[in-house]
């Protein structure tokens, strides 16, 4: 079984457009939406919910009634999570559940409690299984939840003997993005030809290399700024990175998005042709 992740240095580069369309072209696969902060893939697939699991991401401290306001906890908390007062309180958004305050409190007034930080799901769109999740707003970075989504996708792929797991990765370069690419066979990086796109691309390439994954690049909306596109291509050549393809700026992509459909459903769109070629190349590689 092969795992392929589609990522980008930041959101909105067309990552979900591409993964939604690739999902439509792939056969014998399972999809995993690892963008748990802003999951969008299920909007494209109108899936039917099969399973729901709760995700307990960590613990949070709670201060009980025996607090004497001595302030010892505040001195040790390195996350500014303790709010002083007549009885001290914890800011649950800031607390990382590190346990330092629990150990230090002379009154034993603090306890760590498990906290639920999201849900993850298994759904089905036609014959295609999709694992996805939703992190509760304001919860801590989502690496652990992404790991659960990927585990679930892998399990289903094994059960059903599917050949591929296609991952819509989390944007950025932090823990969410890292969790989306660790251990995958191939990473498709979506870039856009903008001044910031180049900057974001370099950061995600560095991240991908840090995890020693094989990868290639897709340039989305390449004709919006051909000078920048050339710059990206030159940079890739210099770095020995394969450019898997270029997708043109195509109003059809947007129209499909409004209808919540993958753009490749529209055979006449120029973007569709480009995505099909990228898919071909991807199949040769993996």
């Amino acid at each position: 079984m092969k795992q392929i992740a589609i990522v980008s240095g930041k959101g909105g580069t067309g990552k979900t457009t591409l993964s939604g369309s690739l999902s439509f072209l792939f056969e014998n696969h399972v999809m995993a939406d690892c963008d748990v902060d802003a999951p969008n893939l299920h909007l494209l697939m109108e899936p039917k919910l099969l399973e729901k699991h709760e995700y307990f991401g960590g613990k949070k401290a709670e201060i009980g009634n025996s607090c004497t306001s001595c302030g010892a906890c505040m001195d040790v908390c390195r996350f500014s999570a303790i709010i002083p007062g007549t009885t001290y309180k914890i800011d649950p958004y800031a607390c990382e559940g590190c346990n330092a305050c629990v150990l230090i409190c002379p009154e034993g007034a603090i306890t760590l409690k498990e906290s639920k930080s999201g849900d993850y799901f298994l759904s089905k769109s036609g014959d295609l299984p999709l694992s996805h999740a939703l992190l509760f707003p304001g919860e801590e970075t989502s690496g652990g939840l992404i790991a659960e989504v990927r585990k679930l996708a892998l399990k289903v792929a094994e059960q059903k003997n599917r050949k591929y797991v296609v991952i819509d990765g989390a944007p950025g370069i932090g823990c969410a993005a890292s969790s989306s690419i660790t251990g995958v066979n191939y990473v498709v990086i979506v870039a856009e030809p903008t001044i910031s796109g180049m900057h974001d691309l370099q950061r995600i390439v560095e991240t991908t290399r840090y995890f020693r994954r094989n990868f290639g690049i897709v340039i989305n909306k390449f004709d919006l700024n051909e000078v920048k596109t050339d710059e990206i291509i030159c940079w890739c050549e210099k770095e020995g990175i394969e450019v898997l393809g270029k997708i043109p700026f195509d109003p059809e992509v947007r129209n499909s998005a409004i209808k919540a459909e993958p753009v490749v459903k529209n055979e006449k769109s120029p973007a569709t042709r480009a995505i099909r070629e990228i898919f071909q190349r991807l199949m040769e590689i993996v």
Partner: protein, 281 residues
């Protein structure tokens, strides 16, 4: 006044709004633009920034003094992040799992643990021109969380100026850290079902934090009215609609501000600000 520019996901035009708004307001009075999107800061690309200060953001990592260590395992037991393992040869610390919380030091009965600092990012402070000062945070590659970099950046908030903060995308911890203490949130979204979905998530965070908000619809389209319906039924004002325009996309791609190229938009951003100022006082 402190305004955060937020979006449920990246690429909706958050940076476009933050940079253009900061520029427009700085033509009238002192403004500070801060980029808290520490995983992918982009705002600086639209300006020539003269940096005056660069501050390392560090966390403390534990190290074990073998002489004093009894291999008792109390540190590993106390660590909530699985960052310590005990072997008969010694204590092993996994730096990339460590949150730098110091709990293991508290737990160690023999004070065998000391700490060393490790840089996880930087905060850069500078000036674009007299009216517009600038700051940004940058998280190092491979680091899990940008919250501390954001906290460090926010120490440089200049209350004598109108502050515009380009927030990180999404709805998790770093966004909450950015929003803390803000007077207003501009929610930037695009007119698609994805935009709406992510907007709802982001709006729930802002609402819970009791921060007044308004919506800017980017790449607005007559074909998709659902954002406006959502805004109406939740009593959130629509501050502006920026149409789907290839010229605007091209100016962004070149790293220029479209308010400079399209005068009409300069005034529209001024009006956008007046709408916000009217709410806060």
């Amino acid at each position: 006044m402190k305004i955060a520019v937020v979006s449920g996901k990246g690429g909706t035009g958050k940076t476009t709004v933050a940079t253009n708004l900061a520029w427009v307001l700085s033509q009238k009075g002192p403004v500070q633009l801060l980029d808290a999107d520490v995983e992918e800061p982009n705002s600086h690309l639209f300006f020539h920034v003269k940096y005056t200060e660069e501050i390392d953001v560090e966390i403390l990592l534990p190290r074990v003094d073998k002489e004093k260590c009894l291999l008792c395992g109390k540190c590993a037991k106390a660590c909530q992040f699985g960052a310590i393992s005990i072997f008969n040869t010694g204590v092993l610390i996994f730096d990339n799992l460590c949150h730098g919380c110091g709990t293991c030091s508290i737990a160690c009965p023999t004070k065998a643990i000391y700490e060393i600092s490790k840089q996880i990012g930087v905060v850069k402070i500078g000036q674009i021109d007299e009216k517009l000062t600038f700051g940004m945070g940058l998280l190092n590659i491979g680091e899990p969380s940008g919250v501390r970099v954001i906290r460090e950046l926010k120490k440089f908030i200049d209350n004598s100026r109108t502050v515009i903060i380009d927030a990180p995308p999404g709805t998790s911890c770093p966004v909450v850290e950015t929003l803390r203490g803000m007077d207003y949130a501009i929610m930037v979204t695009e007119a698609t079902p994805f935009g709406l979905h992510d907007l709802k998530l982001a709006a729930s965070v802002v609402k819970e934090m009791n921060i007044p908000m308004g919506i800017v619809i980017n790449r607005a389209s007559e074909d998709y009215k659902e954002i406006e319906e959502f805004a109406f039924s939740n009593d959130i004002p629509i501050l502006e609609k920026i149409p789907f325009d290839r010229d605007i996309a091209t100016s962004y791609s070149k790293g220029s501000l479209f308010v400079e190229e399209k005068k009409e938009w300069f005034e529209r951003f001024e009006r956008l600000y007046e709408k916000i100022a009217g709410v806060i006082v």
